[in-house]
């Protein structure tokens, strides 16, 4: 990969040398402080994290830190709890980001296009309110909603339906729902913007040609907002992969480890068990999962263009 980009970049660099080269340092000058800051405060910690992941650093119980090579990674792949966390993370991401936030956001945006102004304002306000609430507050709100004496069970009781201890019986579903509740606003905003960009003439032309609502949506609207879908999916997924506060406040990864996604698992290893090295290695693996998702989405977007 690296060699390919180098080779591709070389021909464009070489002929340009005599002319604009002299001006280049000047153009970089205003960026220098920012670059230094980025290297110092972003690059530094990341490099340090990568280093820790290959050591056996502990928060307590050991004074020395040794380089252990790939031990932490080997340990992760042999650890049932790690595998459990990977599966739960995928379930959580699929349910709450791909299916939940994305679809619901699109549906809301499409419906709001046709709604009357007051309805649009009201819906927008409610959905966005859920988004502005800090993650930890949202976590406690939804904990109160799902807990045994919570709002959801009170509603079910009132409807004559059997109540459930949701956080105990279906913890991963409950936290997924919480993430949908919190994150849908973002998708809705992205799609609202994308939908309003579609020229009216095209929709009208399709209508004249006799295309129904559903077929118009499928053949005109969706292809035209494909780029937005890609961007939105990518941002959603990355955000969902790193959700921690919401799950921590609602279930702490429990009961057992039935809602222990990778970020919660990582915290548990690093801070409850004091295994900073192992926890950091898990964090790097999580980064890798995010990178994989991003590559897939970028591919999808590129094909379309």
């Amino acid at each position: 990969m690296a060699t390919v980009t180098k080779v591709a970049a070389a021909p464009t660099e070489t002929p340009a040398r005599p002319g604009p080269r002299r001006g280049r340092p000047l153009r970089w000058l205003p960026l220098a402080p920012a670059t230094v800051m980025l290297l110092l405060f972003l690059g530094g910690p990341i490099a340090y994290c990568v280093y820790i992941a290959f050591t056996n650093m502990q928060l307590t119980g050991a004074s020395s830190t040794d380089f252990v090579g790939l031990d932490n990674f080997q340990r992760a792949f042999g650890d049932d709890d790690f595998r459990n966390a990977v599966v739960l993370t995928l379930v959580f991401t699929l349910l709450s980001s791909l299916v939940g936030q994305n679809t619901l956001g699109l549906a809301l945006a499409a419906l709001m296009q046709r709604a009357s102004r007051p309805v649009r304002t009201l819906t927008g306000a409610i959905v966005i309110a859920a988004w502005v609430v800090p993650e930890i507050v949202a976590g406690f709100l939804l904990y109160a909603f799902f807990r045994r004496e919570g709002t959801l069970n009170a509603l079910l009781d009132w409807l004559g339906l059997p109540s459930q201890n949701w956080l105990y019986t279906l913890p991963i579903l409950a936290v997924s729902f919480a993430n949908v509740w919190r994150g849908t606003a973002f998708s809705m905003l992205v799609y609202s913007a994308a939908l309003s960009e579609i020229p009216k003439e095209i929709t009208e032309a399709a209508e004249v040609d006799g295309a129904g609502g559903l077929s118009r949506f499928w053949h005109i609207t969706l292809p035209m907002i494909r780029r937005s879908i890609g961007t939105n999916l990518m941002l959603n997924t990355l955000q969902t992969l790193s959700v921690f506060g919401l799950i921590w406040a609602m279930t702490r990864g429990g009961p057992g480890n039935r809602s222990q996604t990778l970020p919660v698992f990582m915290y548990d290893q690093a801070f409850n068990k004091s295994l900073i090295g192992y926890g950091t290695a898990v964090a790097l693996l999580l980064l890798l999962v995010g990178a994989l998702f991003s590559v897939v989405y970028l591919r999808l977007m590129r094909e379309e263009v």
Binding site: V36, L59, A62, P255
Partner: protein, 458 residues
């Protein structure tokens, strides 16, 4: 143009270096002792804060020009420890004095966070007043002492006499074995509906509360491995989960599967400890609680949940051994110590503050307001202490039967592994045998293979 870039780089670096050193500088004032302690998560409980504020006032008056900066951390025990360990890692954030649970002290010593106090202790007359077990509690494997303990605790069964009367059980209840406890709980479930018969903490969320207060109270009562069911001090090896380990898990499984305990979702709530003393016991919703000697503190006039009638309503019974085998009773003890951090810049001043905390009057007041069992002979004899609270003589009497947790650096990790085994067994995710097996696997990796099998009844 060229020199400009390095110049800017240098300027930026200088600026950031200036910024960071500025931030760190504020923590190392030579005239200020920075004291970190854990504040109760119950906002109504502030006696620790009040006591420390009072000692701070005395200290600042006695040492003109010196200041005490109290840094409360309001968190669960596990989170408190994590936060303090992070602070102690760096000289920029390290406080001078920390309040440490004895079971974490060895782990933090091994990590190089704490400073030996032997030089100070040698010159300190008051140290002779401390009982030997307490002195040992803060002594590391290297033979040096790293903390001054300010009290201990014991554990037993608290029961509600009114509920017992309704269920036809005696007011001087004293179970002889585990079955007696279960029998009483079943009777209550049958005869007094709407009341939770028995609370034994369980699972990961309550942290050390469930591991020590519930699991180890059971495990040490099985008498397995010659009375050292977790760690063999002779062989310096950890003991893998034997029959006693599984029996203790089975007991918990029985309590929760027969619904003799609280609803599992309440039991796994990280704040369940607070709920027990502030709601369930005072409101008569819980019949038996396996809990600590300090509960009474919350019900004093100055406590978080004043409940004057509690001494008439509640009785105490010692926790029996599994089958009533000798010595018949079992208790676990812990306690907290004041320790000076390795990276402290004012150790001498911090030591002075410890001395201020340990004047006889302050030590008596502290053991009374925090409902601690005294670790100093002069305090234990003080009439103010002995009359401070009904039940205090009962719990002081348990000291004879008490056990201390293994004081090795990896104990906190072992504790987490036990919490997981408890949670798996309680929720029914795994059978007690399977949970014990997965504990063994974790233990082997934690102890780096230094384990030994439990060798039956000892």
């Amino acid at each position: 143009m060229r020199p400009t870039a390095p110049l800017i780089l240098a300027a930026t670096l200088a600026a950031t270096a200036g910024l960071t050193s500025c931030g760190g500088g504020s923590g190392s004032d030579p005239d200020t002792v920075k004291v970190v302690y854990n504040r109760s998560t119950d906002n109504k409980i502030r006696f620790k804060d009040n006591h420390l504020a009072e000692v701070k006032k005395q200290f600042e008056k006695a040492n003109p020009g010196k200041k005490v900066k109290l840094v409360p951390i309001q968190a669960q025990d596990n989170d408190y420890a994590t936060k303090v360990q992070q602070m102690m890692r760096s000289p920029k954030t390290a406080p001078d004095l920390v309040y440490e649970d004895t079971f974490r002290i060895n782990s933090d010593i091994k990590a190089g966070y704490l400073r030996p106090l032997d030089d100070y202790l040698a010159k300190w007359k008051t140290w002779d007043q401390f009982v030997d077990t307490a002195k040992a509690a803060a002594k590391a494997e290297d033979g040096k002492t790293y903390g001054v303990p300010d009290g201990t605790d014991t554990r037993g069964l608290w029961f509600n006499k009114k509920i017992f009367a309704k269920a036809g059980l005696p007011a001087d209840w004293s179970p002889k074995n585990w079955d007696d406890i279960l029998k009483a709980a079943r009777t209550i479930k049958q005869k007094v509906p709407g009341v939770t018969p028995l609370n034994t903490y369980t699972g990961k969320a309550p942290g050390e509360t469930s591991v020590m207060q519930s699991f180890e109270m059971l495990l040490y009562g099985t008498g397995e491995a010659g009375g050292n069911p977790l760690y063999d001090p002779g062989a310096k090896k950890w003991v893998t989960g034997g029959k006693g380990f599984q029996d203790a898990l089975s007991f918990l499984r029985t309590v929760y599967s027969e619904k003799l305990g609280p609803d599992i979702s309440d039991a796994l709530d990280p704040n369940v400890g607070t709920t027990v003393f502030s709601e369930w016991l005072p409101e008569g919703k819980l019949a038996i609680a396996l809990d600590g000697s300090w509960l009474g503190q919350n019900w004093l006039k100055t406590g978080g949940k004043p409940w004057p009638e509690w001494s008439k309503t509640l009785g105490q019974a010692p926790m029996p051994t599994q089958n009533g085998q000798a010595p018949g009773k079992v208790s676990m003890s812990g306690g907290w110590t004041w320790a000076i951090t390795a990276k402290s810049k004012n150790p001498d001043l911090a030591w002075k503050f410890i001395q201020q905390l340990q004047t006889k009057d302050n030590a008596v007041t502290w053991d009374i307001v925090d409902a601690q069992i005294a670790v100093r002979k002069d305090v234990a004899q003080d009439p103010k202490y002995t009359s401070s609270m009904p039940g205090i003589t009962f719990f002081t009497g348990l000291v004879k039967y008490t056990h201390y947790r293994p004081t090795t650096p990896v104990y906190p990790q072992v504790s987490t592994a036990i919490g997981e085994a408890m949670e798996a067994a309680t929720t029914g995710d795994a059978s007690p045998e399977k949970a014990a097996k997965s504990y063994d696997d974790q233990l082997t990796s934690i102890a780096d293979g230094a384990t030994v099998a439990a060798s039956g009844q000892g």
